[in-house]
Amino acid sequence: MANEAEETVKKLAALRGVVGLVIVNGEGIPVKSTLDNHISVQYAGLMSALVQKAKSVVRDLDPTNALTFLRIRSKKSEIIVAPDQDFIMIVVQDPAE
């Protein structure tokens, strides 16, 4: 699994336009990142809060529903977030590249 993870991270990071990739564990701590430490921590912290909020929005509208993915399109980049109860995966991509 660890090997597989390593490979996948490498694979994803090599894709065109991918700025960085952060894997955050259940406690909101970045466990794997291709970005600088402080940026990863920032992403992890902010995204955890946003994901929590987004989850509760989806769940509150319909409790049987669940948040699966989150795409944040900004002027400069796109942040793709895969939220889970045990981890959060964040990919930052510059689609213009």
């Binding site: 994803l12 509150d60 699966t68 895969a82 889970d84 995966m89 689609p95």
Partner: protein, 853 residues
Amino acid sequence: MLKAMVRRALKGDDETVLQTRALQCFEKEANKSRTTILEEGALDWMKPRVLLRPDDQEELTEADLDEEVARILTTRNPHWVLDEVAFHYGQGQFTRIPKPTFGKAFPLYVFQGTAIRKDSEEARAQIAAGYGMVGFDDAGPKRAKAKKTSAEEEEEDEPAAEAEASPEEAKAEEEAAHEEEEKEPDDVAGETEQQQEEAVGEEVKEGVDEETETVEKEAVEEQTEELFDEVIDIKPRVKKLANQFNFCERAALTYTCPLRTVETQSLPPARATYSATALQSIIFDYYQEDYEKKLREREEEKPKRLRKKAAKHAKSAQEIHDEQLAQRVREAWTVLERLVNQNIYDDIAQDYRYWDDPSDEFREGVGSLLPLWKFQYEPMRSHAVCDVQWNPHYQDLFAVAYGSLDFTAQQKEGCLCLYSIKNPAYPEYAVITESPVICLDVYREVPYLICIGCYDGNVCVYNSKLSLESHYQYKSDSVRDKHSNIVWEIAGACAEIQTGYAKLKKKTYQFQHYFVYARYKDTYRRVGGPPTEAMLKLVRWGRRLIDGEATFFSISGDGRVVQWAVMPGELQATTIITLRSGVPPVPGPDGTLLTVNGCGSCLCFHPEKAEIFMVGTEDGMIHTCSKAYSRDHVMSVKGHHMPVYRIHYNYFNNNVFISCSGDWRVKIWEDGRVDPLFMFELGSPVGDVRWAPYSSTVFAACTSDGKTGIQNGPGSRIDNRDRTEIENEAGLKIEYGTEIKIKSVTIEIKNLRLSVFVYDLNVNKYKPICVQAVVSKKLKKLTRIDFNPQLPVIVCGDTKYACVRLKSSIAIFSRLVRRLHSSGVMKLDKLLSLVRDPPITPGAIDEKFDEDD
């Protein structure tokens, strides 16, 4: 007397000792209890209580404290001495001491009572004075003082005028009082009586001159502090009878405990801030949890044996959690990857469904192809795509077989990949095989089962559902069943190989053509043509057997068609047919005649008749065979001059099929006819040809190489006469050798062009409706092509590990679809009827081509 004194003193000592002991014991107790409290820690805030003790208190050891002192009380006085004598200095002799009047009794305390006898003189006097009569007076109470001590009594005796006596007198009086106090207890009793009498008399007097006396007496009182007074409220004129029932009231002040304020602060209780938000979803979750718990409880109520059975199969909660987590992680990765790719290939994703070439409007009968994605798998850089096939179930998924077509530098391993158009960057599934993969087929009924044919002659079945660690699900037995690589191994070093090759007369075009023979059990069998050996040419899933097993068929260079039944745990091989070749037996090196097998290159099943299939061979024959006859072919047609690469039945008309070959030609045939209905020259070896699934008249072909001017249509061609000669040469010119000689033939072509041709017979029988150059690099060749069953997309593979996907222009597609719905089959029939009468001859086709030119 002295002795008595001593005794008393001793007694006192005894008592003090006892007292001290008692005190110390008490102190110890108190300490003990205090320590226990302290140990509990509950009252540590309390101030420690310290017992006050005199400075001269005797210190006792533990042993002394513990010692028990027994005291016995008896009625008999042990100190009683019968005859007590003392030395009388006056008489100069011992005299007997007179015994005390009260006998053996020993007075310890003498208390003077106030009760007197009624018939006594004193009582009578009191009664006479008017006491003893109880009554009430209106006037306020008056104070009178009763003097009890003998000192005051003496004072009383003095006249009132002497009240203001000199201090000397007062002193004398004091001394007298002292003296009296020091009187022996023996005398006390007697004296008490005396005093009593005096006191009574005095009281009587007091009644008379009370007012004057009170002031004086108070003054005296202050001087003599040792004396104590008693204040008695006496109501005047009320005669209070002093008898044995009439008591004086005495007020006494008990010891008052001083008030103490002790304040303390207990430890503050633990505090925590708790806050929560009750959202609808949270409430829902708790309900779910509760429901599950109830279910579990119900489960536990079930009989034990049922539960045991379930528990055997159940994994531990941790394992399940880990597995699920891993699965979720993989899913998340897949989606992330796809999202990233969607951003990257956004324009293509838009195009592939909706792109329309505006110029199509003005070009009647001509369409275009738009290159879309390019799929590459980096580890397979040096491999060629040997087969591609769309997944019949998922329209975005296709399988790719990576092998090698360069037989001189064969790769050691191959790869089976599944690509999705949603993720052009990496294959969804990639599994490295031990040998290069030459062909594959996806099982239509179970789309995750893929059978592959390998270069070494083995067939495998892969289950793409399983993870990559678990390898193939089935593999043919490499000793018993697999295609004739076994011949190589048995024949070993002594195998005599006959290799023949032919050269084209025209130097610019050289075609590789080998026949490989091996001696196996005294017979020489042709085990491979060009390319070599046992390489599997094609695998195809067939119909299920009667008892439900899935089967697939394979054809190989050794000329055998083998049916493989997928049994549980193994593959069971049955040889359906061994191909004959038209080549007469060849004398071997030792004189024996060699029977030459046909060398199969492709296989195609009839879409409806399950037992009928067609086989294309390396020498260009197209055999129609039946599973029912394993000896002979139903029909044989000399279809091509070069290896047949593909035979494909039309989707709409089961009688019509198309074939392509290395002799640059694509031919359309009808069942039962020896001559082709149509013939197309594409100017270079045609690697693959496919009917379009949406139209009866459209097919696409890809060529491996060619020369310029192809887009003009099938104009350039080789003289048939030359071709025959070449073929003859190839078949007959055989060189003997003891080792395999495989020469790669370089292809010298000036302008290499690799193209995909799409023809629509209905639009133009002679020209392709579109030609698309897919790759332009010199070393690349197109190998395989496949139509997507639903989308207007074609996939084709090249020799440089890339799969290119092309989109047929919407113009082609929509036009075709429209026609399909109106008259799909009729259209082809109409066409066919045109060509059937009169039967065409190759010459006629050539003439037509000439006309086009």
